[in-house]
Symmetry: C2
Subunit: 249 residues, 2 copies
């Protein structure tokens, strides 16, 4: 169930009101092709908010009132069904956008967005998005590219899911988190600081927490990685890669 039951999309901290002009992420966001005056418009209509880990940015089933820009931090999209089954369909980090699937698809959100790190997000109203799309059609193309990429990832995931066991998928997951959540220490080892609980890992892998724990143990026994809570140490990246890429005959 949820931890902070009641409050909906209530930011804990008022906006520190970043400017779109100085936004680090703009160059690789959908808004990169905005002309100066359009950017000025965007900057004037957006609102900026902060969320702490565990706080919900929007809920599955809620109507989509606009689009969010993640300035910093990490958000997960959780999707659940009537029976309480839950999967994490996506992780969204700084520079990425949020809520556009429902915006373009119509209908309510199909997943809940929850901050798993302290997050700074900007909100752009439906009408403002619509206006920007009119003023600069290339924004639409940018979102087309984004959605096409999302669909590709979802279908890759589908294939990956039905072709590999949990151990392989866990190795996959680690690799996909490498760039954003690991550093190399003096000895050349990879040091992860995962933003995910074991339960969240299970939701991402489509399995149960118990299985995650057991699979972690297997990877440790195989010398691939050492897990200590959310801290993971990988001595030899090649061993991790071998988990994913079977030794082909």
């Amino acid at each position: 169930m949820s931890k902070s039951e009641s409050s909906r999309a209530m930011p804990i901290v008022g906006g520190h009101h970043a400017s779109c002009f100085s936004c680090q992420n703009r160059s690789n966001s959908e808004w990169c092709t905005l002309a100066d005056d359009d950017l000025r418009y965007l900057d004037s209509v957006k609102t900026s908010n902060s969320y702490l880990p565990g706080q919900q940015i929007f809920y599955q089933g809620n109507p989509c009132l606009g689009i969010f820009c993640v300035e910093s931090g990490t958000v997960v999209l959780r999707k659940s069904d009537a029976s309480g089954n839950e999967v994490i369909t996506r992780m969204v980090s700084g520079g990425e956008t949020l809520g556009y699937r429902s915006y373009f698809g119509g209908g309510p959100y199909q997943a809940s967005a929850e901050a798993i790190e302290p997050v700074q997000v900007c909100f752009i109203d439906r009408d403002a998005v619509s206006a920007l799309l009119q003023r600069n059609p290339s924004i639409g193309l940018n979102f087309l590219r984004r959605l096409a990429g999302d669909l590709e990832r979802a279908e890759d995931e589908h294939l990956n899911y039905s072709a590999h066991d949990v151990r392989t998928r866990l190795a996959h997951l680690l690799l996909s988190l490498k760039d954003r959540f690991s550093d190399v220490d003096d000895d050349g080892r990879l040091i992860f600081r995962l933003p995910l609980s074991r339960q969240d890992m299970a939701s991402m892998l489509g399995t149960r927490p118990e299985t995650v724990a057991r699979t972690i143990r297997k990877l440790e026994d195989a010398g691939v990685a050492v897990f200590d809570g959310r801290r993971v140490v990988v001595d030899d990246l090649d061993l991790l890669l071998d988990e994913v890429e079977p030794v082909l005959a």
Copy 2:
């Protein structure tokens, strides 16, 4: 010209050259918002082709040269990895479009498109699509809606997949094929004529043909459906629905 470079995507029958104006499916396709002169343009640049069951319309890995309109018949998108694992990510029938994910996402096709029924498709060149997008930006919005819907379905499928066993997913599959591939006979029974082999069903369910056979047997033993090759008879739709919707306490 463009697609003859690969002898594979060679239609068996020359176009019967349907007109876009008389196309039955236009009203619910992405092209429904085209003005008359744009439609005339589309009609002049599209080429129409036929494929027989088993023929490939394009291959995973091939560059995307344009977009296809399925006028009639059914196509499946097969996606495979280096190890030979295969899933069917989508079924596309008359009125739907094909190849737009790669067109907007850039890069080569991520799946192969194979006719599983006699199919009539129109091909629209990249440049023509681009021109139409420019002339009528609402086309872009239509594709945004389409991709958003595809992504939603893919993520629904993901949840469905990790939450339900093969038996439930098979029932799901039947229900999803009901509208297009079944009729009601005089006694009120549903008569399916499936366009899929058992292997294809396995690819859609993310399982093996043996498991499909066994699961079919279970459904028969439970009196839910009778399978005779590709012909399926469902006496009582409610029984099928019960397979999907667990009796909630």
